[in-house]
């Protein structure tokens, strides 16, 4: 599904040069549920942004769903983002002026789907996350957990091949976090590849595989071993 080879990403200012990713290589298979862990500043989010085609990179190659996306134009990357990738952010990133239904329909508008198709997909997605009765609510009228479920519905409405979740439960209490994780697992069970950046070891334990990132490199890539301290050796890239 996703294959990165020797990716490098450097942020430059006049004074400082920061290597966010160095020789970053990772392969995620279709249907995987991968948790990406690592300390703050290790490069997790940069990886996620590059994986989601929100940022470009300097060195290396990146194949997404079999397609080399290294040299694509902004328009081509936007199209792939719209059709193949669903994002879930820590801070939900709903558009405050749009109601729940409009937020969920938004990616479908950029796909130029007709109104009927948009509504049908948005309704299905909202039903899946249990918010079919809140379509006309504004985000500010929902709890944090509900907002995140709307964000998940928005990501699902486009029926993406890949879900990228950046600390999806970071702003939620434990009960809501569990509900969101349940949802992600359900989505993954339906065949969608999920990559989730998290600090939370409890969450990462629920993924099929764990990737540990340190100083911009993958330092560990293992299937989750339910025996504490006994992570089995995995298939690193």
């Amino acid at each position: 599904m996703l294959e990165m080879q020797h990716i490098g990403k450097v942020y430059r200012t006049e004074l400082v040069e920061t290597h966010a990713l160095r020789d970053f290589s990772l392969r995620v298979n279709e249907g995987d549920f991968v948790a990406v862990t690592g300390p703050s500043g290790s490069g997790k989010t940069t990886f996620l942004n590059i994986a989601g085609l929100l940022e470009t990179f300097g060195d290396g190659t990146y194949r997404l769903d079999g397609e080399d996306v290294s040299g694509l134009s902004d328009k081509q990357r936007s199209r792939i983002r719209n059709q193949k990738i669903g994002f879930i952010f820590q801070s939900f990133n709903l558009i405050p002026d749009l109601d729940v239904a409009d937020n969920v329909e938004l990616p479908l508008r950029y796909r130029r789907l007709d109104r009927g198709e948009r509504k049908a997909r948005a309704e299905r997605a909202l039903e899946l996350v249990g918010l079919a009765s809140r379509t006309r609510h504004l985000p500010s009228q929902l709890s944090g957990g509900q907002q995140q479920r709307v964000a998940i519905a928005r990501a699902l409405a486009g029926e993406p091949r890949l879900i990228l979740a950046d600390e999806p439960t970071g702003n939620l209490d434990s009960l809501m976090a569990r509900q969101v994780l349940d949802l992600l697992e359900e989505i993954n069970a339906r065949g969608t590849t999920v990559i989730m950046v998290t600090h939370d070891p409890d969450l990462s334990r629920r993924a099929h595989r764990n990737v540990h990132v340190l100083d911009g490199r993958v330092t560990d890539f293992k299937p989750y071993d339910p025996v504490p301290g006994g992570l089995a050796a995995g298939a690193g890239a």
Binding site: G52, N93, I95, P107, Y110
Partner: protein
């Protein structure tokens, strides 16, 4: 998608009403000022009789002083006098080359009627020949111009304007009825529809944009009654001018002369005729200056008389510079406004909106703001023009918005707003989305 962009624009306007109002105000002030200037220019420069302005010619013959060229309102010689002598005008009326022609001058007389509710008053009168009406396509509501015999014998007939017909006769068909002009009864031959060419090209003396006279009489009827000239009279030759008859036979110029020459052949023939006439007069001891006969089309005449002065052009240029200043302010305000919405744009980008989608969304907003600014600017322009009409009588017929200027204002505001919004929209479109996604 456009409907969604419009809805987003409306939401954005509601989210930052102060900035939105300031942007609309900046555009409105610029449009108001530029449209005010442009309206004046547009009215000054417009063709008053577009269907045949290239077929109507002001006739000029240089019968002026051999020792000094004719000057009129400037330091430079003006070429041949603007007017003809009475004797030359009467002679040119004998030509059958033009399709139509008219000698005319402005006079005035006291008008009385049987209507007791209308007090006698002094009215301007256009003394002319019947060709005036057909040549300038003056529309009639009732009746028609007087006949050729009236031109010859100076019959007391009159064509009246709709305004006077309304006042004196309640708007009824008054042909055949009489009005008293000066000491004599004049029979109404025709009643005009509203007719008000601007600029008043046929006679730019006294007023460039005033309304035409409401009374028209045969020129012979006016001169027979020795009605005074209420326009320019210029004389160069020391002559004894004791009686009005002396004046008519003098070298004083005061008669306006227009000829309708529909094609180049008739123009050439008429010019040959004029040259022959002047040669004849030279042989008789008149026309001491070198031959300089002119036929100026309506457009050339307006240009020659500098109806659109350089000052008017400078005013328009300054008004548009002011619009640019206003737009630069609008650019700054839009940058501030759009910076506040960059996080939303970043979310849209993450969801698959291309840069083009984002730019189009913002341009929809600035376009809508531009139209609002255009409407507000139109209101300002209307107010400005109203003020000008109150302050300057001569602008009463000029300082008015017409439909074309209304559309121009809206179109200009829309394009100006797009031009002003292009850079701010492009900047938001170019912004890297990840900068905003974490901090939401």
């Amino acid at each position: 998608m456009f409907a969604h962009h419009l809805r987003t624009a409306w939401t954005s306007v509601r989210r930052s009403p102060v900035l939105s109002i300031l942007i609309v105000a900046a555009i409105a002030v610029g449009i108001g000022v530029s449209i005010t200037g442009l309206t004046i220019y547009h009215m000054l420069a417009r063709d008053p009789i577009p269907q045949k302005s290239d077929q109507l010619f002001r006739v000029q013959l240089d019968s002026w002083d051999p020792d000094s060229p004719f000057f009129e309102g400037g330091d430079e010689p003006s070429g041949p006098p603007f007017w003809l002598t009475y004797q030359d005008a009467m002679a040119l009326l004998e030509s059958d080359i033009p399709k139509a022609h008219a000698a005319n001058y402005r006079s005035a007389a006291v008008l009385e009627s049987d209507n007791p509710s209308v007090a006698p008053d002094v009215y301007g009168i256009r003394a002319t020949t019947r060709g005036f009406f057909s040549m300038f396509e003056v529309p009639f509501r009732y009746g028609a111009a007087w006949d050729a015999a009236a031109d010859q014998d100076g019959a007391p007939v009159v064509v009246i304007g709709e305004k006077i017909n309304d006042e004196l006769f309640g708007g009824e068909d008054s042909t055949g009825r009489t009005v008293r002009l000066g000491d004599d009864e004049f029979r109404v031959a025709g009643v005009l529809e509203h007719w008000s060419p601007h600029p008043r090209f046929y006679d730019l003396n006294m007023t460039t944009f005033g309304d035409p006279e409401q009374l028209f009489v045969p020129m012979r009827a006016a001169t027979d009654r020795e009605w005074a000239i209420n326009g320019n009279t210029s004389c160069w030759k020391p002559e004894s001018l004791v009686t009005f008859r002396d004046f008519l036979g003098s070298e004083c110029v005061w008669v306006l002369f227009w000829a309708e020459l529909p094609d180049s052949a008739s123009r050439e023939a008429y010019m040959t005729y004029l040259n022959g006439y002047v040669d004849q007069q030279k042989a008789a001891g008149r026309f001491p200056r070198p031959m300089d006969n002119r036929l100026r089309s309506v457009e050339e005449w307006l240009e020659h008389r500098q109806v659109v002065s350089d000052d008017s052009r400078v005013v328009v240029a300054l008004a548009f510079l002011f619009l640019i200043v206003c737009l630069l302010n609008a650019v700054g305000l839009m940058l501030a406004k759009f910076a506040g919405t960059a996080p939303s744009a970043a979310i849209r980008r993450a969801l698959g909106a291309s840069r083009g989608d984002i730019v189009r969304q913002y341009l929809t907003e600035v376009g809508a703001i531009g139209i609002a600014g255009g409407l507000a600017g139109l209101a300002l322009a209307a107010t400005g023009l109203w003020s000008l009409r109150q302050g300057f009588e001569d602008l009463a017929n000029v300082a008015r918005l017409d439909l074309s200027m209304g559309f121009t204002a809206i179109g200009l505001a829309f394009l100006a707003a797009l031009a002003a919004g292009l850079y701010p929209a492009w900047r938001v479109g170019r912004a890297v989305p990840v900068r905003f996604l974490k901090s939401q």
